[in-house]
Amino acid sequence: MKTFFNSVPCKVIAVLLCAAILGCASAAASENASSPVSTALGVVFSPLKRAAASISNSLSDFSAYFVSSGYYRDRVEELEGELASLRSQMVDYEQTRQKLETYEQFLELKEQNPDYTFAEGAVIARDSADLYYSFVLDCGEQDGVSVDDPVIFGSYLAGVVKEVRSSSCVVKTFLDPSVNVSAYEVRSREEGYVSGNTSLALAGQCRLSGLQRDTAVSAGGIVCTSGVGGIYPRDLIIGTVNEVVDETVDISAYAVLEPGIDFGELTDAFVLIDFAGKGE
């Protein structure tokens, strides 16, 4: 036993153990919680460790070639299903967001006009043979819609219901020459009537007729419904004035209007089935 404790291996073991204990003590005492031994080993072996990790990753990628194709087929199907589900959620989200934006606009309108009663409708068909952008909404008699009900989008006037079925209605826009809307220009307070014109409708415009030659209406003015006649409520925006032109057939003038709505892009609208002053 004495011989063992005097042998070289025993002394080496003792030195190593002391070094380890010292390393632990210095690690506990130092801020980095690492001993000089670990630091020295790290300096030597970290490049080797990096190389080993890189080799290990390459080997694991290589081994993927030996996995059965069934595994990948199942994985692809699973991912495709997940992708389809996420896309569907994305579509629902976008539709909900769009509806929310529309409802926010109408909430604002409803708060300003508590007497309005709406029926909501989505555009389900258009007539390509109609130059004046008439369209069909998916609300009808069963929703309380009747002929000559105004159709709005936000605070803009879109048109008027001309034909009603049980679950749908045909709307003519105010670009149609057969639709006339009593209106006034906001700045000058001059009154007239908005009507369609074929040559202007080709450019997507209409006219505010019945103005005097010395009218104060000018480009940039906003034209709204005046509420005269009881068909359209007051202060629905129709469009903005592009220019004022003297009439050729009499001594009046008319203003060329740019509608506030892009009728070709309209996807849903609200029908005003009741409001204060209707029919008066």
Binding site: R126, D127, S128, A129, D130, E163, V170, P177, L202
Partner: protein, 170 residues
Amino acid sequence: MFPEKRRWTVRLCVLLLLAVTALLRSGGLPFFGSIGGAFLVVPLLICLSLFETELASVLFGLAAGALWDYSSALPDGWMTLFCGVAGFLCAVSVRFFIRRKLTSALVGSALFLAVVSLLFSFSASQGLADANILFLYYYLPCAVCAMCFVPIDFYIVKKLYRDRNEDKVI
């Protein structure tokens, strides 16, 4: 002998084709836009009437016209009546005057498209000046676009109505 069952199958296919064509009117066609879709139903109806009996042509015309009326701002029933009459006249013409050829389809389609264009121009406008503008700048291009589809419609309908047993059109 053209089997009765096949005739009804063909008629069902044609009805679906009419429905799809009527639906295409709603949004317009790629490249052609809304001008391409306006009168799309007329060439198909004329081509179809060349190969069908008078009663079937009238019924197909009424169906096509009813689908047109659904989205039209014109008074209801107007296009239904017009398309029914167009189908009847075309089918009767085949019996007495004309043959089932592409030329007949082109002439018949051109005639009815001209009538439709003029009627739409005068009904949708106020005054002669407006009607001229409407006809020249909108409905005439619509009619020309619709004429481009006559050969396509003719060959589709001819293919559908070909009697495979006797290799001739029924």
